[in-house]
Symmetry: C2
DNA sequence: TTGTAAGCGTTATCAG
DNA sequence: CTGATAACGCTTACAA
């Protein structure tokens, strides 16, 4: 590896001059600039970003902490963030929590130790109103953008949230309008604000339509395909009389639909299954369920905007993005005689 | 941010002693160790990894360059790599090529400038036997593990390849055994070795079965859902007489199946559609196509193994992982009278 | 077991 | 416009 010093010696100028040339500093004569540039290219000199960061106190590193890459939602967000980050000259350093607080804490510590200039975090939601590592984060003063809803333990940071309550309510309303009277709800992990909001939206729509609020229609599912399938098995064993199933999450819906079909149920003929998520799973994979469209690529872009403001010294902002809307008319109406008995 | 110097002053010892304690250097007395440790915790001292790397000439950074996060295959690979990387004390720095050589080059340059200790690269395949940036990579001496097949321009690096020719041949053979006599093939981008191998496997199986090799059965598709759909539209307009469709890639198959179904074709009743890929798309999303199972989570693990060897100064190795096997008996047999006419 | 000196590769600062 | 000098925060190498 060629160093600045060597290049300077070869060019017959001081290291500072070379340094200025490499950074496109304006105050260098055109002659020296060209001389140094061509020599740099010839010798294959590549400035060491880490060393630069040590002195300038900017690492040019943005941390990105998500639950898991295998969740398509996260993949989209990363795509968007990566794109602008590189345009702005930042590199991305990545870690996954797998929704475990221990991994989350370890990852955040590593990133702090790397002195990242900023941090995108999809938090692992817990019931406790406080989390030590988030306090450290705040104390360190690192710009943080929460990807998702703020919870008490991360309420002081900038965040991009989605309007899940209203979106979920709209889904349920639509199902009711189509004619469903008994709608099962597969909830997400209620420690997570998004899951709570979606459940509340469902409840409100049911209540406002004057339909009975039946706890027997509510099933706790997690946030994965497997958990959706497990909940579906419990669901299938009860006589709920439901003609529709609304899941708090795309993956739950997929798992549930697949499991129910394995049981011989026809979806959506016997039971309308509606997912609710951030990407158009249904647009890519032909599953017999309806997904709610949500403008989600914008989540990454919005997060990056907030980050830029933070990097410019502006105070934390919270942006609440519009939730999903039922855009597909394909939600199946109940068939005469259909329903889970 | 607390610095080493400050902590040393507070503890009444030299910076070296503190440095040793933080690195768990054995030659420190238990007393000093404890004193420094507790003080470090109390003052919130976090060693600066970048500064450490500057001196020790190890950044503890591994670069990861893939086509796009939104491809589920990549997500799996990353999951595996991330896991072990962190165990070994490395952080991951991420970039996506979107299969564009300009982005690939820019990303690799950034990573070189960061002085990553190693590099995982899913190359953008091109026809040219040489690529400048890969030569620079070789000259820089950075340990590189190619994720996928080596092409001429990256033949000198370590790599994890998959046995695609044999796997693809097995798929076609299976289709033939089930009774298909005219099998359409949707090829991938033939600049990519994996795509070529899969096409060759198909050809070989057809040839060895004594079936006619009909060019009219071969359609060029790319490697995305959209391209698969486009190819399907061309396919639907020709009278191929095919009763089965074998795609060189999962995503092609998904796009093709969806597009054909939109045309009113029943899949797999009228046409058996077989995907070929690295993950069990079909296990997660119920699409009317058959996927080939391939032991793919191991790709990430294998790549990490090779990387460790390189980091230990051992010479580049190439590992060829077993290809997919037809494990689902659900490949549909041709129906009497079925076929694309 | 602990400390001192020097340096990793770059840039901030100030002087010319 | 250019250069000398001193850092940035840590570790290597050597000495005590």
């Amino acid at each position: 590896m060629v160093r600045l010093k060597e290049l300077a010696a070869a060019a017959g100028v001081s290291v500072m001059t070379v340094s200025r040339v490499m950074r496109d500093h304006p105050q260098v004569s055109a002659v020296t600039r060209e001389k140094v540039r061509s020599l740099a290219a010839q010798m294959g000199y590549v400035p060491d970003i880490s060393a630069r960061g040590l002195r300038s106190r900017k690492t040019g590193l943005l941390g990105l902490l998500i639950s898991a890459m295998t969740n398509p939602v996260n993949a989209r967000v990363i795509l968007a963030i990566e794109e602008t980050a590189h345009e702005l000259g930042y590199d991305l350093i990545l870690a996954q929590t797998l929704n475990r607080t221990d991994r989350e804490e370890a990852a955040l510590r590593r990133m702090l130790a790397r002195r990242v200039d900023g941090l995108f975090v999809a938090p692992v939601y817990r019931m406790e109103p406080e989390a030590k590592i988030y306090e450290e984060l705040a104390k360190a003063g690192t710009p943080v953008v929460i990807l998702g809803h703020r919870a008490p333990f991360c309420a002081s940071f900038a965040a991009v949230e989605t309007e899940d309550r209203g979106a979920s309510e709209a889904v349920t309303k639509h199902l009711i309008e189509v004619g469903h009277k008994r709608i099962a709800f597969f909830s997400g992990p209620l420690t997570a604000p998004w899951a709570r909001e979606r459940f509340e939206g469902y409840q409100r729509a049911v209540r406002e339509a004057g339909l009975p609020q039946d706890d027997a229609l509510v099933f706790k599912a997690g946030s994965t395909i497997e958990e959706g399938a497990a909940a579906a098995l419990r669901f299938a064993q009860e006589n709920t009389g439901a003609t529709a199933l609304q899941a708090a999450h795309d993956l739950i819906a997929i798992g549930a639909a697949n499991a129910l079909m394995d049981q011989g149920l026809r979806v959506p003929e016997d039971l309308s299954v509606t997912g609710f998520g951030n990407i158009q799973t249904a647009e890519y994979f032909r599953t017999p369920l309806t997904t709610v469209r949500q403008p989600k690529l914008r989540l990454g872009a919005a997060a990056m905007e907030l980050m830029q403001k933070l990097l410019n010294g502006q105070p934390p902002e919270v942006r609440r993005l519009p939730g999903g809307l039922v855009q597909r008319a394909s939600v199946a109406a109940p068939r005469p005689g259909a329903g889970m008995e």
